[in-house]
Symmetry: D3
Subunit: 308 residues, 6 copies
Amino acid sequence: MIRFSVPCGRLLADAPVFDVHVAGTESNVAVAVSRMGFTSRWLSRLPNNVLGHRIADTISGQGVDCSQVVWSDTERVGLYFLEFGASPRPTKVLYDRAPSAARNMDETTFDLSLISKARIIHLTGITVALSEGCSRLVETIIARANELKIPITFDVNYRALLWSHKECRLKLTPLLSKIDTLIVSQRDLSAIFEISGDAASAAKELHRQFGVPRIAITTGEQGAAGFENGHTVLAPGYPVEMIDRIGAGDSFAAGVISGLLEGNFSRGIQYGVAMSALQLTTEGDLFRLSRPDVLQLMASESVGQLIR
Amino acid sequence: MIRFSVPCGRLLADAPVFDVHVAGTESNVAVAVSRMGFTSRWLSRLPNNVLGHRIADTISGQGVDCSQVVWSDTERVGLYFLEFGASPRPTKVLYDRAPSAARNMDETTFDLSLISKARIIHLTGITVALSEGCSRLVETIIARANELKIPITFDVNYRALLWSHKECRLKLTPLLSKIDTLIVSQRDLSAIFEISGDAASAAKELHRQFGVPRIAITTGEQGAAGFENGHTVLAPGYPVEMIDRIGAGDSFAAGVISGLLEGNFSRGIQYGVAMSALQLTTEGDLFRLSRPDVLQLMASESVGQLIR
Amino acid sequence: MIRFSVPCGRLLADAPVFDVHVAGTESNVAVAVSRMGFTSRWLSRLPNNVLGHRIADTISGQGVDCSQVVWSDTERVGLYFLEFGASPRPTKVLYDRAPSAARNMDETTFDLSLISKARIIHLTGITVALSEGCSRLVETIIARANELKIPITFDVNYRALLWSHKECRLKLTPLLSKIDTLIVSQRDLSAIFEISGDAASAAKELHRQFGVPRIAITTGEQGAAGFENGHTVLAPGYPVEMIDRIGAGDSFAAGVISGLLEGNFSRGIQYGVAMSALQLTTEGDLFRLSRPDVLQLMASESVGQLIR
Amino acid sequence: MIRFSVPCGRLLADAPVFDVHVAGTESNVAVAVSRMGFTSRWLSRLPNNVLGHRIADTISGQGVDCSQVVWSDTERVGLYFLEFGASPRPTKVLYDRAPSAARNMDETTFDLSLISKARIIHLTGITVALSEGCSRLVETIIARANELKIPITFDVNYRALLWSHKECRLKLTPLLSKIDTLIVSQRDLSAIFEISGDAASAAKELHRQFGVPRIAITTGEQGAAGFENGHTVLAPGYPVEMIDRIGAGDSFAAGVISGLLEGNFSRGIQYGVAMSALQLTTEGDLFRLSRPDVLQLMASESVGQLIR
Amino acid sequence: MIRFSVPCGRLLADAPVFDVHVAGTESNVAVAVSRMGFTSRWLSRLPNNVLGHRIADTISGQGVDCSQVVWSDTERVGLYFLEFGASPRPTKVLYDRAPSAARNMDETTFDLSLISKARIIHLTGITVALSEGCSRLVETIIARANELKIPITFDVNYRALLWSHKECRLKLTPLLSKIDTLIVSQRDLSAIFEISGDAASAAKELHRQFGVPRIAITTGEQGAAGFENGHTVLAPGYPVEMIDRIGAGDSFAAGVISGLLEGNFSRGIQYGVAMSALQLTTEGDLFRLSRPDVLQLMASESVGQLIR
Amino acid sequence: MIRFSVPCGRLLADAPVFDVHVAGTESNVAVAVSRMGFTSRWLSRLPNNVLGHRIADTISGQGVDCSQVVWSDTERVGLYFLEFGASPRPTKVLYDRAPSAARNMDETTFDLSLISKARIIHLTGITVALSEGCSRLVETIIARANELKIPITFDVNYRALLWSHKECRLKLTPLLSKIDTLIVSQRDLSAIFEISGDAASAAKELHRQFGVPRIAITTGEQGAAGFENGHTVLAPGYPVEMIDRIGAGDSFAAGVISGLLEGNFSRGIQYGVAMSALQLTTEGDLFRLSRPDVLQLMASESVGQLIR
């Protein structure tokens, strides 16, 4: 997607210029994983026009392989318009997604034999919600990955404008048993899956009901919790001077994936908390910092403690 | 007026560009009342040059009827220069009013038969202070409105550069018995009319001395209090991340007027507190949000409680 | 529409900010007619979101009555992206119109009894081309106006991305006998109606074939020609330092309409040439100058000469 | 003065920011003379506020001694608003001078014993036109300088908004015999003194009528002519890509003064032509280049040829 | 390098912000070749700091493989400061190269076994001039490429601040017999190699003296000439509205290389002329357009004609 | 030095423009002393290019005498690049000092007979650390000043990139007995001189060991402490909304010097605390406010209390 935004205090109603940023949850994750030093590839469908190429060029400029992007001659780029709030004025977002090229993805869009080359595949609930074709695409990828025993990370990433809590639950429930790591905010966990309580007990309950091996739960300013093998690790949040709230969840997901790629889920939770804190302090949706910044922050305080 | 300002941290002493905003207390109120969905008309005198027309075009662009503005060929627009402070550096304002076209208004400037068409007439102490002619204009409007039984809202809006507390008191005292609703800050109430104490008791005392039927007192971050028929309503303030402090008082007045137009003074106090909080979070002097924003904020928390 | 553009020399591919302008051929004409001192009203259908309201607020800020705009809760604003060229690099335009709220207009969208209040109704080929519903809307308006003997000005305004020359000819031919004044560029006249030759003889031929009473033909830098009652008036163009080429055709149409409103078609051609020249020298799609600017330019040189 | 301007293509009617420049003919000359490597001092009267100090700080930042500026506590800075035109749209200037601190200068404002320290005193017609007090100040300075045999350069600098051609002629005629070098444009020479013809013959005629020893006449793009001791030197203009037309005349005057300070009036004419050409290529009213830039330009082509 | 520049009309002496662009002749060529659809790799040495990484990230964002860049912990990035002139004020460039990381390259810096993977190797005179180590690096690369029969394109790219014409001639003369394609401006050809005359005859003479098989000579606005096998092809220049003159020569070189990669040197000359014309119309040093833009321009007119 | 910075939230890695500020500890102090109404002169060595002159012009524009700056034709200006952090992301500074013209200063660079004209000479540890020549220059100045009994203020101003704590201690220890007033942060005092404890006791211990008559210790947000004649004065800090942290220490030093020039060291500590608080609220390294701002702040609360 392309994001058009105005600085805090300005309004979409009359600002003479809009800031332009490249956005989109999966591409954000791919960029942040690349900034952590790993190879990443992004699959999507983009219109073959200047805005579509701006997206691909920006993302490959951050080291992500975009060679498998499928180019469409007839559709458009999804847009969103963002006006930052200031208390008590809320942040406003206007989505302008339809009929984007990405919505018309389905299980035939990509050469899915590529899946065999991946070490981890990352998917999100947004794609499931976009269209029936997109939903089938996600299901097909999960099935193939399961066959090849390639682990899947899945970020629920609930968007109220795309579907209801109930629709989300119905669509995601059958997928949960097929994924390796679920990423979800405590708020969505409660609203969608009706599992409340503190993060540690909610993760256990979610695991009990759906059998997901690993669960990463973000708890806002408190930080995040990770569940694995019956144990929960808590990573406390950092105090943040927020500049731009967008993209923090994707940076968290990228941290979790980075930890998994290093064979250390707990460290992934810590990466995620640090990366999302850093992401909140820079303008734009993309994680533009790099591994040394993350390590430096993590070294500055002890984070994370094991709880039984 | 035209406001020239620099972003916080920059100085009027060397900033290479100045932001340009349309300003002026009565026009601010007219705009905010229009944004609340009511018809409003603004009477003023402007020079017939590009800056005068910028003011009128901007204000009519917000839905205010400016067709009765009187155009002058010989005078100038009032200006002010604004440098936002940051603690402990104070905000600086440099007024450059004289000899503005508005100062030369008097009781002959406008076709005052228009008064009969108004449901409410709003006046401010600034106009009284500008010049003898302006003062006579205010007195004439009040007299006509009294004859026609059209209620007057009057915002004291004390400006130390225009007159002393004592001059203000002497000029305003004879007017107080002729107006319907007085709007004043707790600080000005104390300094000008030497009535102190909490807002509720000060309002009662003011009512006792001058017989104003309705009194709206702003109490800064605490919110506002409204006095009517012997009762006081308190509307607590909202926590605010301030972007631009200018125009909040005018938005409050517009809220009070909106409530009066709906026949509900208490609701007007609540509108006013919500509108001034919102106004503090956007750049510029004009209230650029709209009724739904105000209602959404008011719905987000219960505000206002009746005290006997 | 909303236009997003970048200053000359910058690229849509990487510019960090886009300039935001309100655009759209009919609203441009309505604004320019208003700036010439006439009352104008614009009918359209807009989404009920911040961008839709930005369009309506901007246009009413220029004095156009937008009270009959119909608000839609489900669609989007049409956008276009503009990158100014510099020789030999061409200007690039990317339209993002579908599925805009305007496309879903049809003969039932508006209260067409309003037509009786108009002195002139202005329509364009773009609306005809947008959708079947829009096309029926145009036909219905023309029929009502014909009944009421209200003259119609019609600007062909050919857009190659919307329809072919042949489609345009087939759709417009039946309308030509029902309109009062046709506005068309010499290039489109040749390409669509296959009438070439100089402007004067082409106008005569067009009149002979279709019986349009008045024809205004723009001839680029040369200026324009007007045909009426068998006579042709030529208005030579002004040498122009071009700042922003968009909106010149709409300013020309507004000039023609202004002349017609004054009962002087020849003067309308001269207004149009002057207004389009001025429009080329300011940023944005809207005519932001005013009648005195137009008169001053026309007084600076003798323009227009009668030819038999 | 302070100048507020908008970039070419933007309008004072709606530009969200105005560029801020320090301006004023005498201070421009003082700055340009300083940039040529000479000591200069500027006498004026400024209000003791942030804008007044911005003017003085900016000018002393260019090396001009502002220690004799007189500070006023009650008046304002003169302003002007500038909108650059683009053919055929004219440049617009809105002056907002009254009641500036400078207008209230008179023969008692400054310690005129300073005159004895000057090698050249520069005055302009603008000061004469500002007010009776300013006019007396100019006369007094001329009288003192005449006593001390300190040469005076005088730039007519006609401003139609300040006085008529006839008023200008009546006021300046008695001064002409008391000055050393008159600087005037060919257009003003013709309009005010009704002396037409080419620059060389007009200079001779002016000399014949008024006895001014040296005359520097600017002839727009053609360059300038200098008259001294019965001879005329012509300095052809340079082809210029104009960025900002303001301040060129003041740079020319500074060039003439620089030549006189070097004892070479002809060279002064050449300096002036080069400096005004350079000045047209930078934003703002102040000459921000320096002596090496001027010398480099003059070396790039042979300029100036002696004519008998 | 990093370029800091100010828009035309602003000065390095006082502009409050500088535009930041990534620059450097070889990287410019690599980017432009990549934009033409070919694979390219850039070898250089950069400091391991935020500016060094900005360069590498920007260039890889344009599709260039930067994986062999060598990172230095102790040196700095070369900078240059650019102030665009406007006639008669010249463009000013201030180089700040020393002691850049690139200067400390030598024949041991890179893994030169990579050479075997290249289809063409591009080198420039700037690298030869930077330091003794850089010069040895160029010689070593040429020797290896000669062994492997990989053709070398060499752009003289004379910089007066780095060496004299004579030093340049002495250093380059021994290299000329070892390269496949020499790229040089007509002006440098005359000044360095003292070969004048029209481009066609100069190319023949250069070929006669040094035996370079292919020679591409740029002739400014006239376009360019290519010499191969005794024949000369001329590609006339395009009329250009210049926005930013920097990088045109590098775009020309990239065009030549693109033609060679397609086995068509004549077409390369035409690519080069078109690409340099396009490059002059966008801000910044990098060629940000793409192959379709180049082909569209070339299709718009017939360019190039064979001369015997 | 020249500082290039990006606004908070932007990154040096990709910001399209960098803000340009003049910087440098001694020049900052000279400017701030001048803004307090005292005469100041700055000695340094600058390259004779546009950036060198930008530094000198900016500083003399603030009233500092730069006539003794020595101009070098061969070196460069020191630069630094600044990216403001937001918690938990740290502020990043990249210095690019070498080989700056200032580094090549030594005891022969300036006409040191000027020393006799000074009332106070200010030096900093940064100059000592820059190079051996700079160190000898500092020693020479101290020796001359001691002979002439001109007091020296010395700001330790420790920079970890220039030297280690130990090197700093070894170099500065012999100087301490020769200076009048030492300015040092509590943190540096502890790290370099290994004197910890609260500011009052640390000052006493420093005095005991090295015999410095006056010591000014900054204690961050707490304010500062001054030691003189066995007594300590504490000046509490002001609560600050920080805009730009750079330059606060230099403003403190200027405050101390201003107090000394008024013969009141205690007042100097208070000036320093007020000036550094104000400096934190404006963009850029230079103190751009003036004496009345400082006095107004100091009058707003009682600061400083004597402790025995």
